[in-house]
């Protein structure tokens, strides 16, 4: 071991330390940039000295007034609307998607390929295209404005069967021989799904639930169109947006921020606890199409 090699080693270590530092500095800067808007909203939601937009970020007086005041508005109603829509959609959509994926992954029937192709093409049309006609249909069913919640659930769930790609991909990676073994032991098809496939596919189940929950939770365009002119049918995104209108923003700006924090809360918690599965789900399903 000569002196030169030792020097080279030191050089390597030093350069690695340097590049690590640089990368970390860069990452810190990026995360600060990403976090600034959220921190601002959080801080503004605790500002109680005034209700309008101001030129500073740190509140002069702190308090929970905005959160308390939310109860005196329609916000709880909007929150419940959104929660009900999102939960029901999450359950129904998950069931449908998983059944669909299982069927397309394990069964071999005549229309399998044509059906998949048909859904692929159908999925290429932008959903917004159907907005006006859906509004008309829902209106005839009496599911708009104040009754928007069941209407929205119907719309979200109705098309969910087409979102089977990721979970079918994941199911395909589970060996067929497992199914066959179970079948030989006398399990029915549904037993195979519940007792064999689903326990193995936990990440994808959670991933499906999460995405099914997130869609309705943050939907704005469609929800606004369906619930227009009726506060009782709005979801949080639409309701909060109205607080930013010209005649309300100065009274409701901090209230809006508080509402925004409450909207972000459940989603953030969900992701914190289920992050592991989410990542596995996204990457796992992408192995084979």
């Amino acid at each position: 071991m000569s002196e030169n090699t030792a020097k080279r080693h030191m050089g390597l270590r030093a350069s690695r330390a340097l590049s690590n530092t640089l990368i970390h500095v860069l990452l810190v800067v990026m995360s600060v940039v990403w976090l600034i808007p959220f921190v601002c909203i959080l801080l503004q939601s605790f500002r109680v000295e005034s209700t309008w937009q101001v030129g500073y970020v740190i509140p002069q007086k702190w308090g929970f007034d905005n959160y308390v005041n939310l109860w005196n508005t329609d916000f709880p109603r909007w929150y419940m609307n959104t929660l009900i829509t999102a939960l029901v959609t999450a359950v129904l959509q998950t069931v449908i998607v998983l059944c669909m994926s299982y069927t397309l992954s394990r069964f071999r029937f005549k229309m399998r390929q044509p059906l998949m192709r048909f859904m692929l093409i159908l999925g290429m049309f932008p959903g917004m295209l159907s907005m006006i006609i859906l509004y008309r249909v829902l209106k005839d069913l009496g599911l708009t404005q104040a009754n928007a919640v069941p209407g929205l659930i119907l719309v979200y769930v109705a098309s969910s069967g087409m979102g089977y790609y990721v979970s079918k991909g994941f199911f395909d990676t589970i060996p067929m021989s497992l199914d066959e073994a179970a079948r030989v032991d006398g399990a029915t098809r549904s037993q195979v799904l519940y007792k064999i496939i689903l326990p193995l596919a936990k990440p994808i189940v959670i991933y499906t639930i999460l995405t099914a929950f997130m869609g309705p939770w943050g939907d704005f365009v469609f929800a606004r169109y369906i619930s227009f002119g009726a506060s009782a049918g709005k979801n949080v995104a639409v309701g909060l947006y109205d607080w930013l209108s010209k005649d309300q923003i100065n009274k409701s700006y901090t209230l809006f921020c508080a509402g925004g924090v409450l909207v972000a809360l459940p989603v953030t918690l969900l992701f914190l606890f289920l992050q592991k599965y989410y990542v596995e789900g996204v990457t796992g399903g992408a192995v084979k199409g």
Partner: protein, 508 residues
């Protein structure tokens, strides 16, 4: 069988006659939807209950009241008139749009007479179309802008002069918020101040047919000179947000909707006044403004009895008593004359400023939708201008753009080609044929071709084949020119004339 049918038919007739007979009486319970601004939802609920309790016609309304800002009431109504509010409030500028969408029911003779006699004359004009039909009830007469200021920065004796206000604010390092660069609504203030007009005419279908616009004139030049003083000041901020008071502003030009917030922000230091005057070449001009009304409309109903009952309610809600209640609770300026004369309204300092400014105001009539974008760029143009010629150029461009709105509408012709990216839409680099003639620079390029078309179209009947004079200046491409394009042989400056049958080309 025949007998049963005839029996049924006659029964139906009797029944229908019964329902006609009851049309005379409005008594009944009606489920209705009412859209009003968020801040008067509770008040309106109370007022409708009062109406139920006090009306002697036996009308009972079971009302669902929804918050809907007047600013975008028309957008919401037009989405689905059927599902919209039975009674709703909207700002005056949406009037024409709502009539076109069939979202407003005409006033009956009785109601029209009450409005005519009981309301502000300008407000009556605002709800009447050119054929004399009335379509809505005036709700407020306060939709204009004026000046909120901080008394600690600007002394009372200075508020009549724009120059003194600017000097005070510069001395104190405080801002003047006046939305001059992003809003034609505020920017027009200077032009109206010097007596310029922009009056738009529509035909019965609501299509714009002509405009009398004097912004590009000597008076307009005075206006932009005054405007430049404000824009050049480092303390000017182009905003109408009342929250500006929390961001170092001493003056905010805004409207009554901001009054409660302004009071909250400045407290006793809040001053309110009509807009100041500005001075150009030794002469004073008082700033003008747009002025408008808020209106209440009734949606057309399939049931005539319900419609009649709704009109009664609308009359009640826009009447003296309700107007006074809205003023007491929210500071809204009534359109109802009796309410306006009431002591509480007459002594309201904010409404005093509103009415004072109204004397210099221009009632906002139907205005072409493109005007707002065409006019708002004047602000930036004036700020960038260095000389008087630059200012004139800004006004000239404005006039050209306004004229272009009609050239496009009246199927004037334009010249499209390689020089403007084959642009046949209405934009800045569109070449219009004014009085059939056009002078343009043809830049050097591989293909220096183009033809005369009607706006928005690509017709090929006015091109190479129609050139009678100047054929030596253009190329004869024969079969390679299926689109009948005029292809210039060399780059240069040319004048084209189209007399209706032939094209003349002259090289300048």
């Amino acid at each position: 069988m025949k007998k049963i049918v005839s029996l049924l038919l006659s029964l139906a007739m009797v029944l229908s006659m019964c329902s006609f007979a009851s049309a005379d009486s409005l008594a009944g319970t009606y489920d209705i939807k009412v859209w009003v601004a968020n801040e008067i939802v509770d008040l309106t609920k109370k007022q409708i209950e009062n109406f139920n309790a006090t009306n002697d016609l036996g009308i009972v309304f079971n009302a669902t009241i929804e918050a809907q800002g007047e600013g975008d009431a028309a957008t919401a109504m037009v989405t689905d008139v059927d599902a919209g509010g039975d009674i709703y409030c909207f700002a005056q500028d949406q009037f024409a749009r709502l009539i076109q969408a069939g979202a407003l029911a005409k006033l009956g003779q009785g109601a029209a007479k009450t409005v005519q006699e009981g309301c502000d004359a300008d407000a009556v004009k605002a709800v009447t179309t050119s054929d004399g039909t009335m379509w809505a009830y005036p709700l407020t007469a306060d939709n204009g802008y004026f000046m909120y200021y901080d008394k600690t920065v600007i002394p009372e004796e200075d508020i009549d002069s724009l120059e003194k206000i600017i000097a005070d604010c510069e001395a104190a390092g405080k801002n003047i918020n006046f939305e001059m660069q992003t809003s034609a609504w505020y920017l027009a203030s200077f032009f109206f101040g010097t007596g310029c007009v922009s009056v738009w005419k529509t035909d019965e279908a609501g299509k714009f047919t002509s405009v009398t616009d004097t912004f590009n004139s000597d008076k307009g030049l005075i206006a932009v000179k005054g405007m430049k003083k404000l824009l050049d000041s480092p303390v000017h901020v182009s905003s109408s947000e009342i929250a500006g008071f929390a961001n170092n502003a001493a003056v905010v030009v805004s409207g009554t909707w901001a009054s409660a917030d302004a009071k909250n922000m400045l407290g006793d230091n809040l001053g309110v006044a009509d807009l100041p005057s500005f001075e150009v070449d030794g002469q004073e001009y008082h700033l003008g403004s747009f002025f408008g009304f808020k209106l209440m409309g009734v949606k057309p109903q399939s049931d005539p009895v319900k419609a009649a009952a709704l009109h009664r309610l609308a009359q009640y809600l826009t009447g003296t008593q309700c107007s006074l209640e809205r003023h007491a609770e929210r500071g809204w300026g009534p359109a109802d004359l009796a309410a306006k004369a009431d002591e509480s309204v007459a002594n309201d300092p904010i409404l005093k400023a509103v009415y004072e400014q109204k004397n210099y105001g221009v009632v906002q009539d139907a205005i072409h939708g493109s005007w707002w974008d065409t006019a708002k760029v004047i602000g930036d143009g004036v700020k960038a201008a260095a000389t008087e010629d630059d200012l004139k150029a800004v006004l000239q461009k404005y006039e050209d753009d306004i004229a272009a709105l009609f050239t496009l509408d009246t199927s004037a012709l334009l010249f499209v080609g390689a020089w403007n990216g084959w642009n046949n839409a209405d934009t800045a680099d569109t070449y219009y044929l004014k009085d059939g003639a056009l002078t343009l620079d043809v830049p050097e390029s591989d293909y220096m071709g183009g033809r005369i078309v009607a706006p928005g179209s690509w017709d090929t009947d006015k091109g190479f084949a129609q050139v009678t004079t100047g054929a030596e200046l253009i190329k004869d491409l024969g079969a390679e020119n299926p689109d009948n394009n005029i292809v210039f042989a060399e780059a240069g400056n040319y004048t084209l004339t189209w007399d209706g049958t032939a094209i003349t080309i002259v090289r300048n």
